[in-house]
């Protein structure tokens, strides 16, 4: 414990002495298309039918955050533990504030990743992985440290966490779900798990200046390829939305926006959810 604390301290100090460190705050900007995301209001033009929806929840885990220098060098951001949103390199982006229909969430919000990096003046890109790393994904939900204590992101049946939760209420039904996480996992909490489909999405954004730019997160992009108004028939489709389980018909179209392929480890097309904004 002491050793670990000491080495962490050294890690923090070492680069500081060498190149000089600076604080970096990555700011995220949640949206439905051009509109800022907010609980308690409706958003139009969603999905293949241009439906109207009210948000119920919108939260995203990210980890392995790095800045990218002009020459392509990847510089990991050292994430400071804050006992609430950031722990061990994992950060919870919590866009809902528990108001309106956002019943599954809580008042606290977090739209930032805070860390330190060497003070270079040529950072032109940012990279991160959407999801929870395997070694943290299967901790006991009742005792795991923040930000893994967010009950709405416990994925108890699948033995892990929801990496992304975007739930909305269309006009035709009470819920339309998007729960992304690792699936086809084997193992147990004590021994650890291995998952056939990690469903971790690596996002790389170029033309990004951490001081002046924000990172837009577009909920509408996740829903762009599906009909949120469609009520499941109970046979070919058993629930509204995608919960990443085998054969869930909405999943291919709802995982593609993150650059993922459903039930495959291969990368999909370029992601469309995150983009650089001024």
């Amino acid at each position: 414990m002491k050793l670990r604390a000491l080495s962490l301290l050294l890690l923090l100090l070492a680069p500081a002495c060498a190149a000089g460190d600076r604080e970096v705050t990555l700011r995220f900007d949640p949206r439905f298309g051009s509109e800022p995301f907010a609980c308690g209001r409706d958003f139009a033009g969603i999905g293949t039918t241009g439906a109207s929806v009210t948000p119920l929840d919108f939260r995203v885990y990210v980890h392995e955050v790095a800045l990218v220098r002009a020459g392509g060098e990847r510089v990991p951001l050292v994430i400071a533990d804050d006992d609430t949103w950031q722990h061990d390199g994992l950060v919870l982006l919590d866009f809902e504030d528990g108001s309106g229909a956002c019943m599954t969430g809580s008042p606290g919000t977090n739209k930032e990743v805070r860390g330190t990096a060497p003070d270079h003046d040529d950072y032109t890109g940012v990279e991160f992985i959407v999801g929870v790393p395997d070694e943290q994904n299967h901790l006991d939900g009742a005792t795991a440290p923040a930000p893994l204590n967010a009950q709405g992101l416990w994925w108890s049946w699948a033995g892990g966490y929801k990496y992304v939760r975007l739930d909305v209420r269309p006009t035709t039904q009470t819920e339309f779900f998007y729960h992304l996480g690792a699936t086809a996992c084997a193992g147990d909490v004590a021994q650890g798990f291995t998952c056939q489909y990690d469903n971790l999405a690596t996002v790389r954004l170029d033309g990004f200046d951490p001081d002046s730019n924000t990172i837009k997160v577009d909920a509408a992009a996740i829903l762009a390829g599906v009909d949120v108004d469609k009520i499941p028939d109970g046979m070919s489709d058993t629930l509204p939305g995608c919960m990443a389980f085998p054969g869930d018909p909405e999943c291919p179209a709802m995982m593609a926006p993150l650059g993922l392929r459903f039930e495959s480890d291969e990368a999909g097309a370029a992601q469309t959810v995150f983009s650089v904004a001024d």
Partner: protein, 374 residues
């Protein structure tokens, strides 16, 4: 017996002279003959105070966000902790796709629920009904802090939590609730059926002639029932303090066959939902048969009303559904256990098997006040 007396004596001694609460006596299992000590996770040891708290919470509708549903809503003692419905409805109206499982001897299971290979403790399992989003059961996540506060603000619970965790400044947490529920459930041990009294108690009148013939058939190579319904708890899902659990066992018993790969009705694919492997379609955990006569309807989806129907199903080597959305010949399901195959059984044989299953009913378990509402 001697040890019990000694403990009682020690408790008395402790209580009288100093007139202060005695340190709680170590937990003692009251196990029926033939039962090993259950597995208990190291970080959730048994105590009488936790069991008592867990019993209160188990029966308390305030555990659901909208205060309409307790654990006991779907797990009624008189029905061996099932609910008599094919499938239940969650607190906000979601249809639950699977039949409420009996909690009889739940401490001895190696995995929990109908088909989840990953839930290996009651502590992990409890989070599913409490926090699942779809289908939503208790819906605690709709405001976890408020639900926990209901217990923290109740003077009776303040005492119960303090007794369970005397050292703990703030025991009002999800973790503690889950631990208390798990401790209570581990006490739900049933081993005083007619079968037990006949086998272990030497009471030759405890099973009818018919039940005895049924038992012989059950344990025979004709019946083949005992391969899956094995051991003290009549299930391949078994662990105890002294036995490591084997790999979790899931079996397809030929109820459905919707396509050439043996698909089951949507939303009820069994192990397949976790592994994504089509060969796991229709594979479910083997449930205990103890108290099975009071837990109708049967199967993962409650699609069989009576034990006679269940016996007919196994004698036929599976079920054929002639028409409707689930049409198909379950007997030909490619994933079906080879032990489920057509077998010649006379009407008397079938009645005998039902009589044997009825001899597994433990009346004391179904009415013991220590498992009932506080």
């Amino acid at each position: 017996m001697r040890r019990v007396v000694a403990v009682c004596f020690a408790m008395l001694l402790g209580a009288c002279p100093e007139d202060q609460a005695p340190a709680e006596a170590p937990w003692e299992w009251q196990l029926p003959p033939g039962f090993p000590e259950p597995f208990v996770p190291e970080d959730d040891p048994m105590s009488a105070a936790k069991v008592e708290l867990g019993r209160h919470i188990f029966y308390d509708e305030r555990l659901s966000y909208n205060e309409t549903m307790a654990c006991a809503t779907c797990h009624e003692q008189a029905r061996a902790f099932t609910d008599g419905k094919p499938t239940p409805i969650g607190s906000t109206g979601h249809a639950i796709p699977r039949n409420s499982m009996s909690l009889t001897n739940v401490a001895f299971q190696s995995v929990y629920t109908w088909a989840n290979p990953k839930l290996s403790t009651l502590e992990e399992q409890a989070l599913v009904p409490m926090f699942a989003d779809f289908p939503l059961e208790l819906g605690v996540q709709q405001d976890t802090d408020a639900v926990v506060r209901r217990f923290a603000d109740d003077p009776e619970y303040q005492e119960l939590f303090a007794a369970a965790w005397p050292e703990d400044d703030d025991p009002f947490t999800v973790e503690r609730i889950v631990q208390a529920l798990s401790s209570f459930q581990r006490t739900l041990i049933s081993g005083d059926s007619g079968y037990d009294r006949f086998i272990y108690g030497g009471d030759t009148t405890a099973m009818s002639e018919s039940a005895q013939r049924g038992m012989a058939l059950f344990f025979s190579e004709t019946g083949e029932c005992y391969h899956c319904h094995a051991g003290a708890n009549f299930s391949t899902s078994f662990r105890s303090a002294g036995t490591e659990p084997g790999p979790p066992d899931f079996q397809n018993n030929g109820l459905y066959n919707l396509d050439e790969s043996g698909a089951y009705p949507p939303g009820n694919g069994g192990l397949y939902e976790f592994t994504g492997d089509p060969r796991d379609q229709g594979k479910f955990r083997v449930p205990t048969l103890r108290n099975i006569a009071v837990t109708a309807p049967y199967m993962h989806d409650g699609s069989m009303a009576t034990l006679a129907e269940v016996i007919d199903h196994y004698a036929a080597g599976g079920r054929e559904t002639v028409d409707g959305p689930f049409a198909g010949d379950g007997r030909q399901n490619p994933n079906k256990s080879p032990l489920v195959r057509q077998v010649e059984l006379s009407p008397q044989d079938r009645a005998d098997l039902v009589a044997f299953l009825e001899s597994l009913t433990d009346e004391a378990f179904l009415s013991d006040p220590k498992f009932g509402p506080p």
